[in-house]
């Protein structure tokens, strides 16, 4: 057993910002990132000169990185991070920023993710995603992530008897949640029958199993609790958080993520149990991945995911509120901002700032991230339990 980790005491998460997504945008990632950063700073009453830490995630920033953005946006941080972890970026940025603030390396860290979506950028993104994908995945039909996740969904269904109806329940519930989120790209209700009848994309994946790529950005700030209180900002605190990369590399097909290695420690850190979680934000690039998270995050046993979604109500008013803003499946996947959407929504939820998607009395949320299909599976995973500040 490794040493006990230090806790995250004294760290506050504030100013959750979401710039409404657009299906396509002629703007750049820089533009989208600047807007989310400004929105978040405005909420806190801060100017760009007042942040001394900056973490960025983006796929479409090329040829720039976080470094280029400091000059582009006129920032002078003493702590800087560029996090290329896709769907795990939000959790990882939070973890890094929290430690920087705790250690005094930075006082206020802005964490931002954003991407643009030009008419042709999805295709360009695919063709330059990773070396293993280029060498060993894309030459096989060039189906992108759809094909990868179709393979693991196929295996999952065969091993555990899950059906498309089960995955459909996740999508339908999220669409119901999205209808309350004025910024969600998907604005029409989705029925289970529509889900089942959808155009096949890469069997068993069909249209409503896939996210819609779009442009957008998300941000939040990390500072000390004292700073948040001094500024009178609603804030969340970190009860516990984990990350893990390239877990279970010998599994022939991915059926579990890195969470499963560290989940006990997460609950131990947070001193709570799955039943104490008021709402869950999973990384939902495909519903099978959300189902995998229900299992690996301890809400049900491995293989029980389909029964879990049959027994529980995943809507905002249900007994297991899940992806309350509609998640990526219904709000859209704004590139690396897809790694932030759940976390930013969870911050709003536990600080009672979620508005139309608010879960009543939500005080403790779990957020999980999952990212980077480097070859045949998602490599990065992370999770955090955050709580609304006690008055």
């Amino acid at each position: 057993m490794s040493r006990t980790r230090l806790g995250y005491e004294g760290v506050a998460i504030v100013s959750p910002a979401t710039i409404p997504y657009q299906r396509f945008s002629i703007e750049t990632a820089h533009w989208w990132i600047a807007r989310a950063l400004k929105e978040s700073l405005d909420q806190a009453g801060l100017g760009p000169a007042e942040i001394d830490g900056f973490a960025v995630s983006s796929f479409t920033l090329f040829p720039d990185t976080a470094v280029g953005l400091t000059q582009h946006l006129g920032l002078c941080p003493r702590w800087l991070d560029h996090i290329p972890m896709g769907g795990a970026s939000g959790i990882v940025a939070l973890r890094r920023a929290a430690r920087a603030v705790q250690a005094g390396d930075a006082d206020i860290v802005a964490c931002v993710a954003g991407d643009t979506n030009h008419i042709d950028s999805f295709r360009n993104l695919l063709s330059s995603f990773s070396r293993f994908s280029q060498d060993a995945a894309y030459p096989y039909g060039f189906g992108g992530p759809n094909a990868n996740f179709a393979l693991l969904m196929d295996r999952y269904m065969k091993d555990y008897g899950a059906t498309r109806e089960d995955f459909g329940r996740i999508c339908v519930a999220q669409r119901q949640n999205a209808l309350r989120n004025p910024n969600a790209l998907m604005k029409k209700p989705l029925t289970l029958q529509q889900y089942l009848d959808a155009r096949p994309i890469s069997d068993p994946i069909a249209l409503f199993d896939c996210v819609m790529p779009c442009a957008g950005s998300e941000a939040f700030l990390v500072m000390t609790v004292e700073e948040a209180q001094r500024r009178d900002l609603p804030f969340a605190v970190i009860a516990g958080t984990i990350e893990r990369h390239n877990a279970y590399a010998d599994d022939p097909v991915q059926f579990r993520g890195g969470w499963a290695m560290d989940i006990d420690e997460l609950y131990h850190m947070a001193d709570c149990a799955p039943s104490d979680i008021d709402l869950l934000q999973t990384y939902d690039d495909y519903p099978v991945i959300s189902m995998m998270q229900f299992e690996d995050l301890g809400f049900c046993d491995k293989g029980e995911g389909s029964r879990f979604v049959q027994d529980r109500d995943l809507t905002i008013e249900g007994d297991f509120p899940h992806n309350t803003s509609g998640g990526q499946l219904s709000a859209g996947q704004a590139g690396a901002a897809g790694g932030y959407i759940g976390l930013v929504e969870a911050i709003r939820q536990v600080t009672a700032a979620a508005g139309p998607t608010q879960v009543p009395d939500a005080s403790r949320a779990m957020v999980s991230g999952f990212g980077v299909i480097n070859y045949d599976r998602g490599v990065c995973s992370g999770a955090a339990i955050i709580e609304g500040a006690k008055a």
Binding site: R131, F132, Q134, D135, G141, A147
Partner: protein
């Protein structure tokens, strides 16, 4: 079983010929090892020289022990299909025309999982035999095949994309006078070639192979002299648009090395046929064939060169002939580069001394024409780029790979 492919009908002249597209070309340097294995039809993966772990995808350091000592080795091709999908949507222009594409994950007996093309006759969750095939980008790709042959197996659309099979295709064999011509024509016909054109130089001169060639169904003899640009161009104008496979068997060979001759007469003939002849053919037929690589069932697929194994390292007894073949080998690499974007494959069949008049002073082993023809057609069916036919050719390439310099020293040793 696979659905047998119907023979292509008459082409509609109004319809635009599909523009040649290739699957994704881009690869890391390590991944080119797959193309090298596929070129010879071998199933090779990187194996760690320190800990023995088999690696996939190809990489630069061992994922078990961090050793950089990774060697490409033949490994067991057995595995099991553990997941599959049919990709029905893609942004790639090549695959858009191939949808749906069956793709799977195979757990190899030797360790890694691989994402691969899956033959239509592989059952759900079945054991498979893996092959590394050259795709239309000329890159090595993994394909899961049924463990045992199935009826019409080669007609599976994905496998046919990887193959250059003569089945339902029209082939031009350039030289009716070469003693190997009857065997090659027969083997092509046996493999299902729809039509075989055979070039005959100086058609007023008798050719002792004509009867054997003309006995094969589907054969048509046409005038062709590879040393005459005009003759080559004329035939290309007539046949270029309906040549799906070109087999260049034209060859001029005389024994003798540099100092055994005191002029350049034979050498000029050797270069004129073996090197410049290939160049004339490539320039005349190449463009039309490259434009027709996406033209349905009988799209243009391959160009075949028959090269002396002594193109690899000079054999002093046939020194000048070796030199002309070395030139042709080099030119074939140029052809590969120029044909790459079209997907037209260049198959080089290397052969040691053949069993004919010009090699009668050599001791065995010599390659009978039937053996050469069989290797050539099998190379097409398997979609290879390099075939080493016979013991001499295999020995030459093995020694070349061990050490080109030691091979040269062996080849140029004391002669009595």
């Amino acid at each position: 079983m696979s659905e047998p492919i119907a023979p292509p009908g008459k082409k509609n002249p109004q319809r635009r010929t599909d523009v040649p597209q290739t699957p994704p070309q881009q690869r890391s340097r390590a991944a080119l090892g797959l193309a090298a294995a596929a070129a010879e039809g071998r199933f090779m993966l990187q194996v760690c020289g320190d800990c023995g772990a088999v690696q996939y995808p190809p990489r630069d350091a061992c994922s078990r022990c961090l050793s950089i000592n990774l060697q490409w080795q033949d490994v067991s091709p057995g595995g099991r299909l553990v997941a599959e999908t049919r990709v029905r949507a893609t942004t790639d222009l090549y695959f858009r025309k191939q949808m749906p594409v069956r793709v799977g994950t195979v757990k190899l007996d030797v360790g890694p999982s691989v994402i691969c093309h899956v033959h239509g006759d592989v059952g759900d969750g079945a054991d498979v035999r893996m092959a590394i095939k050259l795709d239309r980008a000329g890159q090595g790709v993994m394909m899961a095949l049924p463990v045992k042959e199935t009826p019409f197996m080669e007609d599976d659309p994905r496998l046919r994309e990887m193959s250059c099979t003569p089945r339902h295709r029209r082939v031009l064999v350039t030289d009716a006078r070469n003693p190997n011509a009857p065997a090659i024509v027969s083997a092509l016909a046996a493999a299902g070639a729809e039509k075989i054109f055979v070039g005959l130089s100086e058609d007023w001169r008798p050719n002792r192979h004509n009867d054997d060639i003309m006995a094969v169904p589907g054969v048509e003899m046409l005038p062709l002299d590879v040393t005459d640009s005009k003759s080559v161009e004329e035939l290309a104008a007539e046949l270029g648009g309906k040549t799906d496979i070109l087999v260049n068997n034209a060859r001029y060979v005389r024994p003798g090395g540099l100092m055994a001759r005191n002029d350049t007469v034979f050498a000029q003939n050797e270069m004129d046929v073996n090197y410049l002849g290939l160049m004339r053919l490539a320039q005349a037929f190449g463009p039309a064939m490259c434009a027709r690589t996406a033209d349905g069932t009988n799209a243009a697929v391959a160009w075949v060169n028959i090269l002396s194994a002594y193109a690899i390292s000079n054999s002093p007894d046939y020194g000048c002939f070796s030199a002309s073949n070395a030139a042709a080998l080099s030119l074939s690499q140029n052809m590969r580069a120029d044909f790459r974007t079209s997907g037209l494959r260049v198959l080089n069949v290397f052969v040691g001394p053949t069993d004919d008049d010009w090699h009668q002073e050599l001791p065995p082993p010599k390659v009978p024409a039937n053996t050469l023809a069989r290797s050539l057609v099998q190379g097409l069916v398997d979609g290879l780029e390099d075939v080493y036919c016979g013991d001499v050719a295999k020995d030459m390439i093995e020694r070349f790979r061990a050490s080109p310099k030691i091979q040269e020293r062996e080849m140029t040793g004391f002669r009595s």
